[in-house]
């Protein structure tokens, strides 16, 4: 495993960037119509509970990443097998987000550029970042965090001053009762983006201040959750429920509405800036987790060597997982939550926690 040390603030920044990532771009929770923001808040609540599973596991093995303590908990070979599944999962997720990102650029500004080219450029940058190690990624995060916040605040101010916000669009609250909200919460918002904190089990050992892990992670999740909720509320308030539901990228449509004094308009570039930065971090972190996990399981000393092969798999994966955007979205909303997110983010960690709890209790109750 790489020897890296990451400070509390850097970790916080990475979590915020990661969690906001693509969740802000897509119409998260749009199944719940105007109550999408409630579903997102529910998701945050659920995500915090799920995070405590990861946190307990971390407390048992503070110096090991997920793939290593898997082997301790369920035994060497079964642990390796599950760890391998996790690596595939991380790679798949990295591919999905890479596709998301490329698809967005291809539909909005790079209409004639092949998806493959856009994705290649991104993955090459990410492989390079991986090559430089996790510390570098964290430091880059610090710089971009500021930029993202500046663009976000600027964008928000412009939207407010354009007089675009019509909060009455949020009404009626809970029109069809809690059912659609809960459904959206279980299907979507708990696993995406909050459940994705599972990736951080791979990098938590880098944390230099063990005591602060809980507060930093929760703080990052909550800040990201609030940002996503505010963005969703703004999207609905600006676009109205119908358009929020219909738009492929609601935030892009919202930003496109900005029009002040006849010259501050067409600010899609703010959105693109955010998109590229956040996309980069989200893919990079998933990618890093896959590489670190593979190095750990296959006991490869220099994990940098794995950058190119895994990068290539992620790149080709991003092109081949779906042949068109409809298939891609269908896959993301029907298959991923039930067959990937729930098992990998919630069920397996929960079982692990129970086994770890029993094992560790045994140790305590029967001292040698």
């Amino acid at each position: 495993m790489e020897k890296a040390k990451v400070s509390a603030f850097q970790m916080f920044v990475l979590i915020v960037l990661f969690e906001m990532g693509s969740a802000i771009l897509l119409g998260l929770g749009s199944q719940a119509k105007q109550d999408a923001w409630i579903a997102i808040l529910f998701g945050l609540g659920g995500g915090v509970i799920v995070f405590f599973i990861y946190y307990r596991l971390y407390m048992y093995y503070p110096d090991l990443p997920l793939t290593s303590y898997l082997q301790k908990i369920v035994g060497k070979w079964p642990g390796r097998f599950i760890g391998f599944l996790y690596i595939v999962y991380f790679m798949y997720q990295a591919s999905r987000i890479l596709r998301d990102f490329g698809e967005l650029l291809a539909t909005t500004i790079y209409n004639n550029t092949p998806l493959f080219v856009i994705n290649t450029l991104m993955i090459v940058t990410i492989i390079y970042a991986m090559h430089k190690g996790f510390e570098v990624l964290a430091r880059v995060g610090e710089i971009f965090f500021g930029i993202i916040y500046l663009t976000a605040i600027l964008g928000m101010l412009l939207i407010v001053f354009s007089g675009l916000i019509h909060l009455e669009n949020l009404k009626p609250i809970l029109e069809n009762g809690l059912k659609p909200v809960i459904k959206t919460f279980l299907r979507e918002t708990i696993t995406f983006p909050y459940g994705e904190m599972i990736v951080f089990t791979m990098v938590l050992p880098f944390f230099n201040d063990k005591k602060k892990v809980k507060i930093v992670c929760l703080g990052g999740m909550i800040l990201a959750g609030i940002n996503i909720t505010i963005t969703t509320i703004v999207n609905i308030a600006v676009l109205g429920v119908g358009l929020f539901h219909r738009a492929t990228f609601p935030l892009l449509s919202t930003v496109g509405r900005i029009q002040i004094a006849d010259f501050i308009e067409r600010l899609d570039v703010l959105f693109m800036l955010y998109l590229i930065i956040a996309g980069f971090f989200k893919i990079a972190i998933y990618f890093y987790a896959a590489v670190a996990g593979a190095a750990d399981i296959f006991q490869i000393k220099n994990q940098r060597k794995l950058g190119f092969p895994i990068g290539l798999i992620v790149l080709f994966g991003s092109i081949t997982i779906a042949s068109n955007i409809a298939e891609f979205i269908q896959e993301g909303s029907m298959i991923v939550p039930f067959y990937l997110s729930w098992p990998f983010q919630i069920i397996i960690p929960f079982i692990l926690l129970i086994i770890a709890f029993l094992r560790n209790r045994k140790k305590k109750t029967s001292p040698a």
């Binding site: 539909t107 209409n111 450029l121 009626p172 029109e175 119908g242 358009l243 496109g256 509405r257």
Partner: protein
Amino acid sequence: MKKWVKVILLIGLSVPILTACWNQKELTDLAFVMALGIDKGEDDLYHVSFQLVNPGNVSSGQNGGGQGLPIAVYKSTGRTMTEAARNATKKVSRRLYYAHTNVVVISEEVARERTQFLNLLDSFARDPEFRTTTEILIARGASAEEIVTTLTILDKLPVSKITKEIKSTEAMLGENFSITIDDLIDGIVGSGKEPVLNGYQLIGMKEEANKAVNLQKTTTDAFLAADGLAVFKDGALIDWIESKKSRGVLWVLDKAKSTSITLKWKGKKNALVFAPIRSKTKVSTILKHGKPVINIKIENEGWLSEANTAIDLIDPKTIGKIEKLTEKAIKKEVQISVKEAKRLKCDIFGFGDVVHKENPDLWKKLERDWNNYFADLEVNVKVDSYLRREGVRTNPFWSDINK
């Protein structure tokens, strides 16, 4: 030595990537489409007029613009918008570029036919190049082509005349207001609010409108003017609300900012003019005997811009009376518009949305037949006007000459 090779190789490799010119478009290869005019031909095709800007002739400043016309209009036909746009490339040497399209003019004929009209809209909403802030207009008493080909005198670009004009009417008169494609589609989709669009007329000698000679006179032979609101129901134009009756629509939709309200004073007509400077409208609903009742509350403040009669403006009681008169006048305007909309059985005010937001359960029952229900809806209007200032005179000179 080896390091140098690497560095040079790296720089060499990044050159083709960093130029970012995969599908670069030179400015001189683009034709900026400023406005689109869509007509219906006898062949059931869309006849689309593309108003392109002629950049050299628009630039202002020390050197002045060129001698030619600021715009050029090309026409093409097609079964769909995309087909028409692609067919146009046979006639235009440059690539049509839609990112700066500010106005789409649709002829009344097209707007009256549901499928023809609706078939247009998705192409505007879906194309990433097209901006959703684009204004949509209905050509009234003229073809869309005529509107798009008309030259204008103050603003070199006819499009900026149209968009600025709509904004200034919205701000100063309140009979037309800015309506974008998104608003239109939202209105068509939702059952609680029907959309309206601005009508646009070509007044004067139509055949002169597209000639440069038209611009040599101070009173141009033909000019563009906003006129009326087109009312849509079930995705097709059904009727017009005339300018006189349309102000009430803007009051209800909370779009009215300023306007002029002419009042009668002690038997004298056109005696006083009240000019609001800001206004706020709130629409709410309550249940009365199980039926929804709409309450419109309009609050505005303004100043007295004319007093053409002997009147004691120093007396606060007079001010109170003027306020009462204004309230009555505005209330009447709103009632006229509401009556007009009820006649058309078309809820252009979004009362349905208000009921939906306030009382979702009731809305579910009424939703299907809302427009008919709307025709018998009880609508109460309450206006609060405040006359704050009287300009730079106290009593008008009329008070002195009649002595």
